[in-house]
């Protein structure tokens, strides 16, 4: 018995397409990656998959990210909000900087 194919509605939570939102956030230059775990344990469970680093709760979308070394938190917030706002609808966008990547040593 084969599983039903995933539809766009399967990735939608509270009117937000979580998969597209995660992809948009990860494309930001100041974002090294979406991360799970402390401090916010942000993740979204969808049918047959899990989106790491994105949580939709109440009127807020939370993006938990690892900052790329050399970028500032201000740049990160600006980029993430610009990318997420069109997809987040009426939700506000909360940003959690959970970690920072390793610096480039130039080796």
């Amino acid at each position: 018995m084969s599983a039903q194919p995933l539809t766009e509605a399967d990735a939608t939570v509270d009117g937000v397409d979580v998969a597209r939102l995660a992809a948009a956030v990860e494309d930001c230059p100041a974002v090294d990656a979406l991360v799970e775990g402390a401090p916010e344990y942000a993740a979204t469970y969808l049918p047959r998959r899990r989106i790491t680093g994105i949580r939709i709760e109440g009127d807020a979308v939370t993006a938990q990210v690892r900052l790329r070394y050399g970028s500032t938190v201000g740049q990160l917030a600006q980029q993430v909000r610009r990318a997420a706002k069109p997809l987040a609808g009426s939700h506000r966008v909360d940003i959690v900087v959970a970690d920072i990547s390793e610096p480039h040593t130039g080796v």
């Binding site: 500032t72 909000r81 900087v97």
Partner: protein
């Protein structure tokens, strides 16, 4: 002279004329027991929260230390002294090319940092720690916007010849 209303007598309270007796304390309790007002509608101009994990500040501080050529990680101390040969046991040893152990706390927009470092033997500790303190504070401020209120540096080991 006639009285057409009941008057209290012997501890009786006139029917239908009792006034609520409230003290300031009772009023406070009543106010606390009152249902909370409905939450205010969200501010449309409010963009959202930004949370920075202490680990981010700790990593930035540790990186600043290792960028100083005469400072690095310090071996953990046991009973007040460093453990010789700790690296062979899998325990972090003093190393001028490795990041030190750093703890950070964040309170609102203020960060507090504690670190244990090693310094190359015969270097002036005051100069090294001052450079680290200034670099850490400037970098954390520049990259995160947090103000470093305290950078506590413990020099727990001196390293000879880059050992």
């Amino acid at each position: 002279m006639s009285h057409d209303r009941l008057s209290p007598g012997r501890g009786e309270r006139p029917v239908g004329t009792a006034q609520p007796t409230t003290t300031p304390r009772a009023e406070r309790h009543l106010a606390e027991a009152a249902p909370a007002p409905p939450p205010a509608p969200p501010d449309p101009d409010y963009l959202g929260d930004i949370v920075i994990a202490p680990q981010v500040v700790a990593k930035l501080a540790a990186q600043a230390v290792v960028e100083h050529p005469r400072a690095g990680s310090a071996a953990p101390r046991m009973f007040g002294s460093t453990m010789p040969g700790a690296g062979h046991l899998g325990i972090r040893s003093s190393d001028l090319t490795a990041r030190p152990k750093v703890n950070a706390w964040i309170d609102a927009s203020v960060a507090y940092i504690d670190m244990s470092i090693s310094v190359r033997w015969a270097e002036p500790l005051g100069d090294v720690t001052e450079w680290i303190r200034n670099t850490v504070e400037d970098r954390v401020k520049a990259l995160t916007g947090l103000t470093v209120a305290r950078t506590r540096i413990s020099v727990t080991d001196l390293v000879a010849d880059g050992a």
